[in-house]
Structures are given as C-alpha cells and as structure tokens.
Homo-oligomer: 357 residues x 4
C-alpha cells in the first residue's frame, strides 16, 4: 500500500535511490522448483543499461545483479528472492547545482511537498534507475512463464510511426537496431532523428507497443482487476508514461460496433482482434496487444527557468548525461512489467481453477 510493491501473489517490492548504496528488490511468491538461468536475467538487464548505444545516456553503470536468497542449487525454493544492484557511477557532484531547485516537469517539487525532505541526488527514488529492479523481476517471471512470449518494440518516436499491422511485424528484428524498432528503414530514420534532437540539447517522446503471445484463456479478475486494467496500471507506473491503450484503443472510439466486433470462429479464435486479446477483463486466447505513450524526457541540455524551494526564481542548467529519447531503453521495461502482470494473474487464476470441473 505505501506504493513500492507490485503484484498480489507474485510480488515485487523495490528499494533504492539513484545515488544511494544500491537498488534492488524482493520477489515474494515465486513458485518453488523453477530452474533459473541467471545469465539470461543479466542479459535482460543489459538491454536496459545506460551506455549501451550512441542514442542513450552515456552514464556508465555495470548494473550487475546479485541474488541474496531464495535460490538454492540454481532452483527457486519458494522463499523470497532478494537481489541488489550496486550503484557505481553515482557522480553526486553532478547534482549539487540542483539541490534546492525544482527542475521543470520533474518530481522534485512533488517529492519535496509530499515528504518535506528528499534525496536530491539525481532524482533519488523518482529516478528511472528504479526500473532496473523491475527488469530483474520481469526477466525472472519470463522464465517461470516459459511458453508465453513478450514482444515489446519501439512503435513511434516523435512523428515517426510504424505503419505495419501486428501480424506484419518480424519481432526478430527488434534487437537488430539500437532504436528497437523492428522496421529497419524506419529504425534508421528514428536513429537519425534522435541524434539530431540530442544535438539541439532537446529530447523527444515516443510510443512502445507490446504483443504477448500464448496467454491462456481466463486470466484477469473481474470487475476491478480486469487484465487490461492491471496492465494499464503496470505501464502507467513506469517513469514518463502518459498513456495506455489496448487493442483498438483511442482509434477504436471512432468505429461502429459492426466494424469493431471481433467475430468468433469455430476454433474459438476471432477473425479480428480489436479487443487486443481481452474481453470483459479476461484474456481470450488471442495475442494481447497494447501501446504505451512516453513523454519527452524532462532533463534538457538547455538552460531552463524555474523556481527553488524558497519560491525564488532559479535557473536549471543543462548538464549531466541523459537520454534524448527514453523509448529504446523502455522496451525491456515494458516487457518486464507485462511479465509481472501475467504471472501474477496466472497464479491467481490457478488458485481456483481446479475447482471448476
């Protein structure tokens, strides 16, 4: 309830500030007996890591995850799995100049007002660094969910937007580009555009889309914990996210019912998927498809006007090493949060399933 725990059955609680000793978390509720591939978890974390390419922040963080409990002889024991990632490149000096200043469209002002006190170094707890812990837990969840696949990708950057349908996308291309857009031509344009934006000391937003395949029918808990409501909350909890839509989303509001209804075929699949794989809040076996809107990063390499904690005018200097566009690094975060939701819902569903004979 105090906000640092996600999930009710496969539960992740995270901790840590961007410039503290470490970040990390505790996963509680992981089924016992799961053989883990710890290297694969580290690889997922590497997909999110700063400094991985020319279009992301050049901060250097090795971001090595260390497990402290819950795994014995490579296998989960059913007890809490704690992990930590030490903070290495925490140049606290970089932040002394913003100690008393509220950066525009950052959480400085709201944290100060809510808590009356904050760790001003690099955003502290409000830093997107926290999402590294989510990627660790999500990667672990993926291993529990062997047969379910998660395919997030860059759908748009600024005005540059994918024109393909979900069926036309070749997901094997996503990791081929540093933009994580699975359309090579568009990916090149995006890359050039992001570099140009950075040159101007500016930033730009974009959209990450995600397809989840092989989700069994029946996940999601009506009426308040509908599957897409849980996915929506999960995505909206990621830093910089301003919107979420499933299936036809906002565009679907312009359609007629006769166009929008997904007809059910004899094999129990549907011949269209405007619903995005969820009906009445419960998965229907079709691919789950949703989009997540990321605003442009608030930290600019330009000077900006603002105020300080004494309500005096202040200047925010363009300094530090930040992402010109958060979208490429957000792709593994979206997948991680999707995996956390699906596993949590699967366990919940399983609790009562056996009684339905």
């Amino acid at each position: 309830m105090p906000g640092n725990t996600f999930g009710s059955f496969f539960k992740l609680t995270t901790f840590g500030e961007s410039h503290g000793v470490a970040i990390g978390g505790i996963i509680d509720g992981c089924p016992a007996g799961i053989q883990l591939n710890l290297e694969a978890i580290q690889q997922e974390l590497d997909r999110r890591r700063p400094g991985q390419s020319a279009i992301v922040t050049q901060r250097k963080e090795a971001d090595e995850v260390i497990f402290l409990s819950g795994i014995f002889e490579g296998v989960t024991t059913g007890t809490p799995i704690a992990f930590e990632i030490k903070n290495q490149d925490a140049k606290s000096k970089d932040y002394s100049h913003i100690k008393d200043v509220y950066r525009p469209s950052h959480a400085d002002f709201t944290y100060q007002k809510k808590y009356g006190h904050r760790d001003y170094r690099g955003g502290g707890r409000s830093s997107a660094r926290e999402t590294a812990s989510r990627v660790v837990a999500g990667a672990l969840a993926k291993q529990v969910l062997k047969n379910i696949s998660f395919h997030a990708f860059t759908y748009s950057v600024g005005e540059l937007s994918l024109k393909k349908t979900v069926e036309e996308i070749d997901f094997s291309l996503t990791e081929k580009s540093i933009t994580r857009c699975p359309d090579p031509k568009l990916a090149s344009k995006m890359e050039a555009y992001i570099k140009n934006v950075r040159k101007q000391g500016d930033t730009v937003g974009g959209v990450v889309a995600c397809v989840i395949k092989n989700v069994p029918v029946g996940l999601g808990e009506p009426v308040f914990d509908k599957l897409h409501a849980e996915l929506g909350k999960a995505m909206l909890s990621i830093n910089a996210v301003k919107g979420f839509e499933i299936g036809s989303g906002f565009e679907g509001t312009k359609m007629l019912g006769s166009e929008h209804n997904d007809k059910i075929k004899k094999d129990e699949t549907t011949n269209s998927n405007f619903s995005g794989g969820v009906q009445g809040g419960i998965s229907n076996g079709m691919p789950i498809y949703f989009k997540v809107a990321f605003k442009p990063v608030a930290t600019l390499m330009q000077d900006q006007k603002s105020i300080d904690i004494h309500q005096q005018e202040a200047n925010v200097k363009g300094k530090g090493r930040h992402d010109p566009c958060v979208v490429p690094r957000a792709v593994p975060i979206v997948e991680a949060m999707a995996a956390l939701v699906i596993l949590d819902q699967l366990l919940l569903h399983q609790a009562r399933k056996e009684f339905n004979l």
Copy 2:
C-alpha cells in the same frame, strides 16, 4: 484480490448480476462523522440510469439505492456502509436466445472459460449494470471530498470531437445536453449522429474527458501506485474502456522536451499543464486532466454470426434494449471512479503526513 474490491483504504466491494435479486456493495473505511446528503447520492445514480433520455437504452430501472448500515442519524459512523439496488426490470426472457451463444466482443466466451459456468442472463456480472454501485460509492466519496470538484464530460463521439482547451470549457453546460458534451453546437451534432447510428441498428464509441480541481499537492504513492496509474486502473476497469491518457497523453509523445516541460512559476503553479496535474506520480496542485476511450457497444440491433458453447456456428439476433453509445451514461461513472481514487489516496497520504514536520 479476487477482483471485486477497489481501493485500499476507502474500499468498495461490489456484488450482483444484472438479472439477480439486487446489486450493491460495501464501502469500508469511510471516515466517521461525515454528514451525508442521501438525496444527492440518488441524483448521481439518476445521471447513470437507463431510460433517462432518447439516446440511451430504454430499459426501465428505478435504480433506487437503499443503505443498510454504517450511517446513524444521517452521519457516517466509521463502520461499513452497505447498500443495495434492487433489480426490477429484469426481463430474463430476453436473454434465453443467447443462453448457449457467445456474443461477439462480449464477455460470454471468457466468463464461460474462466468459470466453467455463468449467469447468461444479460451479461450477469459482466454487465455494465455493476457500475451503478460504483456511482453510489463515488457520490458518497464526493461528499467526503467537499472542496474537490470532478468534471467529466463527453469529449468525442465517433469522429465528432471537442476542439476547446480545458480552460475554455464551461462545465455548467455539461448537464444541459443529453449527450453531456459541454459545447452546445457539438452536442446537437452528437445527438443527431447517435440517433442515426441507432436507426441503423449500430453503435459507436467515444471519449470521456475529466478534470479534477483543487486536489491538494502530494497525493499518489511512488513508485508503483502513482496517482495516474491508480486513475488509469480505475478507468480501465469500467466496462468498454480501451484506453486512458493523462495530460498530453499520446499526442505528447510527438512533442520535444523543450515544448512539453511545464515551467514552474513563483506561486508554485505551472504555466502549462502537459503533465495533467501529476509529476512523478504525485499530484502537483494543478488540475488533473485525463481522457478515457470507450469502444462502440458490442450489442447490435443486427444479426451477427458467432459460435455456441459446443463450438458450433450460431446466430446472434439483434434484440433487447441497449445503448447506441455508452458515453453519455459513462460520464458519472468516470467521475465516480475518479472520486474513489482521490479519496483513497488522500486517506493514505494523511496517514503519514503529520510526521512531516
């Protein structure tokens, strides 16, 4: 956790099927000592009622709310407030023809698969009738939140969309039109369009927007229970909702950071509000502004092809009394869910506030 409870501190648990004895709920966690205006609660419910105008379903349900506990001499006692709304116009016969059939883009198929058994009369639990209970609880929450105002309105129906900014809208006009669009000219067009869609036995979607004013700074619990993540989940849990965006939303992804950042003025307000009143998951004192996408209603007055529970082809006949567009009746539901979120977060915040000296 089984999905019929909303909120952690001001908690609403709802029950009831569209064609059972009654629907209703229990509100737990309401502060004691609140003088209630029960008539005002009934009035909110009337805003959602079927049969209220020419463009909604013509089902007749008096929808009278009765309180069973938790209120003594007109004042809340701090104990659970139970209420019920009897089902009156439950013409179960209307539904016998769909007993074994899965209606397209309805929850019939998923409920059948999840529970192995369902109340097929009119959607049972998956019916939007359940939202009446939310309106009761939301109306009560509004009375606790005296100084905070909730203004939901019809933003678009199909392609017909409001062109005004939030600041330009006169919220006193919302209830003047049966469409609940606060722009009289556009409202007339929407009304005509909806009538036309209905004549064709079809339905259409739309968008409800909502502005919340006077929310104190500091609500929302980082990192997973960010204020807009809670609002998003609340809205996505409403029947037929496919998308949620706050502030600049999906459009904002096309902007540059230098355009998008909300500059903070000396009085601690911002000179733009692309954030929609939330920074870092915490309210910043500016109006909270979000949009909710509703798909076209799945029940058509046209025959549709589908399958039955034996995986045989079946016909779904266009019958019954349904809404051609859910948006006008969704307006009070959006407000209700917003009020539940804000009150819940306010109570949570208050628990720790006093320690921040």
Copy 3:
C-alpha cells in the same frame, strides 16, 4: 485494511449493526462450480441463533439468511456472493438508558473515542451479532472443503474443564447437549452451573477447543502468515476472546524438548501431536488442535458503576436479554472462522502448487 474484511483469497467482508436494517456480507473469491446446500448453511446459523436453549440469551431473531448474488441454478458462479440477515427483534428502546453511558468492559468507550460518534443501540457494530455473518461464510467454506472436518466443542466453563484427550472425545456428542460439551456428565454440570450464574445476574467465561481433521500437508505461508498465526488472528477477532493456543500451548512451555518433540513415523504421521498439526507454520497432516479463551460476558443483570460521555459518574442498570456464558453459541463461530482460514490458505497454496513438479 479498514478491518471489515477477512481473508486474502476467499474474502469475507461483513457489514451491519445489531439494531440497523440488516447485517450481512460479501464473499469474494469462492471457486465457481460448487453445488451449494443452502439449507445446511441455514442450519449452521441456527446453531448460533439466540433463543435456541435455556442457557443462552432469550432474544428472538429468526436469523434467516438470504443470498443476493453469485449463485445461479444452485451453483457458485465465481462472482461475489452477497447475503443478508434482516434484524427483527431490534428493541431499540432497551438501549436508550445506556445512550450516553460507557458500560464497563464493553466497547462503548473505545468506539466513542475512535469514531467520535457511535450507534449506541445494543453495541452497534461491536455487538457479537456481527458473527452471524461469519457463520454463513464459514458454513459455505465448509461445503467447498468437503473432505475436511471441523469439530469445535465446549472445553471448559469457569473451572469445569474437560479431562479427556482429543483422541478420547466422541464428537457426535457435541450437539447432544445445549452446552456443546461432548462429555455428557460434565455437560450436565456445566448446564447447572451456567443456570446458577445467571440466577445471580452474573456471567462466566470458558474455553472452546477445536480439532480440524484431514487438512492436507502444506497449508500456511511462512514466515509471517504461518497457519497457526492466521488461525490465532481469526479466533482473537471473535468478540470476547482473550487467548489462543495451538497444540501444547501454554502448558507446553513447562515441558522439556525431549518430551515435547513429536517423533515422525515411517508413514509420515507423528506419534504425539504437541505441535497441534502445524510445524514451522505449515500444516503437517496431523489433526490441527487449538483452544480459544472467552472472557465472561460483560453485560450483567446487576447494576454497575461507570461514567458517561461527559466524564460524570453514571449507573449501568442490569437490563435486557443476554448470554450468561457465551461459550455454547461460540462453538459454531469458532468452526466458521477455522473454515475461512483453511479455505483461504488452501487456495493460496494451490496457486503455486502445480509448479512444484
């Protein structure tokens, strides 16, 4: 969290004051497809009913339970099961004399201070009448848990205490006596004693013991939600309970480890059961055995000195119709709470079980 919900997966939320319109509750999370025997539920409720014998309160409440949702054609649908029990014999006038007075060892004072306002009629929410809702939910839980049996019984009244071991008790005798003590001789003594205590306008306490048989191995969630911790909380939440012990309990503290350890036999049972069926917080397949201490009822048929809400001395008159000893009617309540705990834990355990291959 606000205290009127029990369980995390099979969840009961109750409502209602002793002299309001009705009491009742919502059960959320009941598996679908369970064929219910509603008469058997009513029978359990009758075991708790006032006026059932000469040694309990002579209030007359029919206590008829009505189900409002979640059951279709006699079978659970997986949706919330709401129920209510109308209040009939609510002689509010009986309570006008205590409106402003704090009855000794009642909840009047604490409710007044906590909520600043209370329904003073007959204890309002603090009345043991609330436990009727628990009995309904517990009776339903028992039907889901077909193979598990719950045997609560009167272990002691005042100094009169059962001398038999658990193995020696014939549970079929429990309902043969209005005391619900399964030892006929002792039962007669208890009955006479309770009648005598009542004649003096006084009350007396006692102990209810409970044996649960056929609980599968593996229930309980270490480390905080140990099975006996959940049972303990459940029992301590019943009105008038002051103590809980499992297995050897307080007496076991005087034993040596070499006497107390339960030796495990080749068939995986143990040759003694000082643990009471739980080891490390997890059921071990042996009968679960625990005791619950009930204080003497606070309402006396004697005048007592106290104060009123203005801190002035006041007299509490001995009036009304109350139980001289709560223990006989507490027996079905203890069983009900035990069933709620076991079903909740079973569902939780089941969520992850399948993964343990």
Copy 4:
C-alpha cells in the same frame, strides 16, 4: 500474501536463509522526516544476537545491520528502507548430516512437502535467524513511536514463573540478568535451571510477557483487525510460539463477569485491567499487557529417532550450537513485533482521524 510481509501501512518484507549470503528486509511506509539513531537499532539487534551470554547458543554472528536506502543525511525520506545483515558464521558443514533427514518438531518435513525442495542448511528460511530482520524494523518503529514504551521480559522458564503483578515489576531490572527476568532472585534460579537443562542435552520452554505503555486510545480496526488480533498474529508468527493471551487470558475464563469487568473511573482509566488495554478490539489507553508461550527448542544435543525423505528410519544426531531455552533472546523479538503492530495501527488510525471533528 505469500507470507513474507508484515503490516499494511508500515510494511516489513523480510528475506534470507540462515546459511545464504545475507538476511534482511525492506521497510515500506515509514513516515518521512524521522531523525534516526542507527546505533540504537544496532543495540537492539545485539540484544537478540547469538553468543551474547552463557545460556544462549554459542554461534558467533556479528549481526551488523547495513542500510541501503531510504535514509538521507540521517533522516528518513519516506521511500523504502532496505537493510541487510551478512551471514558470517555459516558453518554449512554442520548440517550435511541432516540433509535428507526430517528433524522431529522442525519444519524440515513441512517445507519439503510444501515446496518440494528446500535449503536444508540450518533450517534455511525456517530458522529463527529470520527474526533478526524483525528486530531491525521493530527498533526503527520504536524510534518513530517516541512516546510509547515497550517492556517485554521473561515471565517463566519451565515451571519457574514470576509471581508479581505488572504494576510491581521494575522494568529497569530486565536487562540486568542474562535471562531477562526482572526479578533477580527468580532470574538466578532460571539461569541455573537452563544451564542444568543444557548439561543434559535438553531444552525447555517458557513465557515472555510484554507491557506497552502510553498507547493512545483508538488503535485497532474492528471487526477482523482488532488490535489484540493483530498482536496475536504478530506473536504467533515468531518461531516456536504456541500461544498468545491478552489481559486476563485463559485464567480470565474462570472468573465471573462481576469480578472481571474493568470499572471506568472519572479520569477515563479503569480500576483494574483484565482487558489488557484493549476493549472491542480498540486500545483504551490503559497499558497493553499480553503473554507469549514458547515451546522448548526442538534441536537437542541428544540422538533422536526420525525418518528421512525416502520414508526410511533415520537418526538425528545431537550436534551444533543451539539455544537450550529461546526465551531470553525472544524478549527483543516480542518487543519488535509489538512495535511493528502499534506503528502500523497508529498510521492506519491517523488516516481517518482528522475527519472526526
């Protein structure tokens, strides 16, 4: 819900096995702005530490707590407080002999059956070593609860039992004896007795009592989360606990109502305290007084008969370094759990308090 989290608002989630890398936890929901004395937290931990005296286990663990987040410049920031205690003296070899054997009255059998897999080294997660994390969180909670004092003490060891009333006890004597019994004469007898028991390779149980002073009126959430129900669950979740009673407890069941009722005086205190400071589940401002029963430690320095995981007879050898009586080291654990409950309830209560005008 998976069992490793305690509290709903001031939440502690713990992790770690006795012979893994580390144990520790995350505290979520601590109010911001609390100036912490980290040394005092370490001192509490030292009260629980192995090897502290001649009558406890001689294992050597420095048990140094390290904080990883949530504290900035010595003050809590309102974000999660993570901490860890490295495992140092983890002689895993000591445990190889019990790898496949189920020790009598240990959790070996139940963990194996529940999880199908376990960390057999020294009890793994079921080891009482986990309680060190509770002491850290409890010590921190005590600092938030400045004005409330927690006085746990050894009430009995075997048959040796304190004869004083709560009012007669001088709590300043508790820490003067390694038994933590505040009666010097009795403490000496207990010490001698424990030493004698150990000489025989045996163990013995005992009772810890606890008095909490200055708890404000109004804590506890009826009806299921009564204050003493929460305390009971907290205590029963401690390793080796078999019973809990508040106020008059089991002895009180033998009293008449006319003896047991606590009369309320004009200053709103009561002239007796059989209720133990709680009425109707809510604190009444009197000292809260309860007792906790600890069974004799199951690990003996004697050979015992048992079975192994293949259901074959096996011998459990008396080896290792264990406590002959857990009670002296349990005293700070009882205080810690009590502090967690009181702070959690205080925060909950505070959330709604302001509305009660």
